[in-house]
């Protein structure tokens, strides 16, 4: 964006499909995931244990649910930093409903509705008022969590019905959790939506050139509004899972999760400036982040130190290919000279 002197290299012929797949971001990331897996299984004897690995998935399933919707939003050139605050508000609303005797179906409905409403609120500001999404969602990030604080103060909601714990603590079969099932279903839905439908093509078109997309007949505002709705909805789903898993609601729930979600999306190879990215990439990124945190946790590395690794990973995976390209370009230039 800022480098105006950069020229675009157009190859004489396209690489074969296999070569492209091999050289893709997803392949690189997959190799990283395998490497982390292998290193971890050597580093700790407790790593290769089905139950431990199953527990480890909680590190990323909830974040990944949001990350899929966020990926679409970022590809379209927008961003939503309020997702963690939507979780807080949805969770608070569910906790409030429990005080009035709501059962599990009502709680789920409330969680999803609050998520959708928050997404719609963001969407109205961005698409109807035409404001930059980063600023709007920094604002709603404070607003949504602020409402939770007004309702709860330094209190907590507890007493969720027993059947509600199924979402965050239940198992489908053996070590496979309910959250894993959600993760897989949501990943497939978003992969199909982005890669196989007109809507998905529209998302890419908008991200690459919003004006061009508008003139080719895409209802840009409507697509973006739907993407904000979806991100809100997914935050609602994540709120249900997280609340069910923790069994209580505090206004500080999921603090800082928005940054982890964005990290996951960026790590997954989605261009933060919009226009490109894939759902499989985000899926692998979710596993990479989950494995890193889990492996380091087994080695008794404190959470805050793990965040160093996540930060380095985020910058590293983006910086290294660019450094590589720069070095290659310099070498080429020297060869020509």
């Amino acid at each position: 964006m800022t480098n105006t002197t950069q020229t675009r290299h157009i190859p004489d012929r396209l690489h074969s499909r296999a070569a492209r797949l091999f050289k893709s971001w997803e392949a690189l990331l997959f190799a990283v995931a395998i490497a982390i897996f292998v290193v971890n299984s050597f580093a700790s004897p407790y790593f290769l244990n089905a139950w431990n690995l199953s527990d480890a998935t909680f590190n990323f399933t909830e974040k990944a649910m949001i990350a899929f919707a966020m990926a679409l939003l970022i590809i379209s050139g927008e961003i939503d930093l309020s997702v963690a605050s939507i979780i807080a508000l949805a969770s608070t609303a569910m906790g409030l409903a429990v005080q009035y005797g709501a059962g599990t179906p009502e709680l789920v409905a409330i969680g999803l509705t609050v998520g959708l409403l928050c997404g719609a609120f963001n969407g109205v500001f961005v698409t109807i008022l035409g404001l930059p999404s980063i600023v709007v969602t920094i604002g709603t990030m404070s607003l949504f969590r602020g409402i939770s604080y007004i309702i709860l103060g330094d209190d907590a909601f507890r007493g969720y019905p027993t059947s509600f714990s199924w979402f965050g603590q239940g198992y489908i079969y053996w070590v496979f959790t309910v959250e894993m099932l959600f993760f897989v279903i949501i990943a497939i839905v978003y992969a199909v939506l982005l890669h196989k439908t007109n809507f998905g093509r529209a998302v890419y078109a908008i991200g690459n050139n919003p004006t061009g997309a508008l003139f080719s007949g895409i209802r840009v505002a409507r697509v973006k509004f739907i993407l904000f709705l979806l991100t809100g909805l997914m935050s609602g789903v994540a709120a249900i899972c997280l609340t069910s898993r923790l069994g209580s609601t505090r206004p500080s729930i999921a603090t800082g999760m928005e940054l982890e979600v964005v990290t996951m999306v960026a790590l997954g190879g989605v261009n933060i400036l919009g226009g490109s990215g894939t759902i499989p990439g985000v899926v692998i990124a979710a596993f990479v982040m989950g494995l890193v945190t889990f492996g380091l946790g087994l080695l008794n590395v404190p959470g805050i130190v793990m965040s160093i690794f996540i930060g380095l990973l985020l910058i590293g995976v983006i910086a290294l290919p660019r450094l590589w390209a720069m070095v290659a370009a310099q070498r080429k230039a020297r060869k020509i000279a």
């Binding site: 800022t2 105006t4 160093i308 985020l314």
Partner: protein, 326 residues
């Protein structure tokens, strides 16, 4: 003549005045000079950081690592103070500014040389800096009794009726006023944000200007790191957690366009003061401090909606004279 009055700043200033009048109607003690000076002193770190953030946002970037930078520098100088209690304050200040500037330079290099989007870079460095605090401090706190009296006394020392902390904020505001309007660096910041392509053609190195902006923001974060730790006389991993968003909020409320190129020193300062007044007024007028987050969130939304309305130009500016009459 009318065009010389910055409308946005005037409206924001009157909003702050109105707010103060409203508070005063419920609690007259709020408007005593001593209390207002207190509020200003309390807001000083936010003002200093908002100015640094303003420079970064003007160049079409964003710096989310300022609070982590602040906390890391604060911890570093606190530990230096524990190890060498005799080290004079000017040295501490120099170390803090240098350390902060170095962290800013890391952000700047990644944005400049590798072209990584600033939001990704600073998200990453934010978590890395926080983690490093834990590594160097081992998760322990540095408490007030471990710090030397000179170290903790400096920001609170009174000079001409105001604490040094307030004076540093005032000096920073003046320095930025001069820098943004009178120096080549200041003008190139506006040029880069307003139109990077045009800036390149006028001989401005866009990347280097952005690098400079990150260094400035980092240096101010470092300076504030020392002031923060000394003022509250405690250093630990989580100090100023989430403060980066408050800083961005101050800029947004102050009318600095997140798309770059539009903004002023006065706006950033007023935005910070607005948040500072709200924060200090809530307990006074008997509103639970838990309202603060929601209020600042609403303020951001109102401010950005308002700025977008007033900032919408009617047509394309072709002639310079047409631009002047706007």
């Amino acid at each position: 003549m009318m065009r010389h009055i910055p409308v946005r700043e005037a409206i924001l200033a009157s909003a702050i005045l109105l707010l103060i009048v409203l508070i005063a109607s419920r609690f007259a003690g709020f408007v005593t000079p001593a209390n207002l000076a207190n509020v200003f002193n309390d807001t000083a770190p936010l003002i200093i950081l908002a100015l640094g953030q303003m420079v970064v946002i003007l160049t079409r970037c964003i710096d989310l690592s300022v609070a982590a930078n602040l906390a890391l520098t604060g911890m570093a100088v606190a530990m230096i103070n524990v190890a060498f209690p005799g080290l004079p304050i000017p040295f501490i200040l120099a170390i803090a500014v240098t350390l902060g500037a170095m962290m800013g330079a890391i952000n700047g290099v990644l944005v400049w040389k590798l072209n990584i989007p600033p939001i990704v870079v600073t998200l990453g460095t934010m978590t890395i800096f926080r983690g490093i605090i834990f590594l160097i401090s081992d998760g322990k706190w540095v408490n007030s009794h471990e710090m030397s009296p000179a170290f903790t006394g400096f920001p609170r020392a009174a000079f001409l009726g105001l604490p040094v902390l307030s004076w540093i904020a005032i000096i920073t505001v003046i320095a930025f006023g001069v820098m943004m309007s009178r120096t080549q660096f200041g003008r190139s910041i506006f040029a880069v944000g307003g139109n990077p392509h045009a800036a390149v053609y006028t001989g401005i190195n866009v990347g280097r200007t952005q690098f400079g902006a990150f260094v400035v923001s980092g240096a101010l974060a470092g300076l504030t790191g020392y002031l923060w730790v000394a003022r509250y006389a405690v250093a630990y991993v989580d100090i100023a957690g989430g403060f980066e968003l408050e800083v961005v909020a101050a800029c947004v409320i102050g009318g600095i366009s997140i798309a770059g190129g539009i903004g002023s020193v006065g706006g950033a300062v007023l935005g910070a003061i607005f948040l500072g007044v709200v924060k200090n007024a809530l307990p006074v007028v008997n509103i639970s401090p838990f309202w603060q987050l929601a209020i600042s969130g609403s303020a951001i939304l109102i401010a950005v909606a308002f700025n977008a309305r007033s900032g919408r130009t009617k047509g394309r500016i072709i002639l310079k004279s047409a631009e002047v009459t706007q």
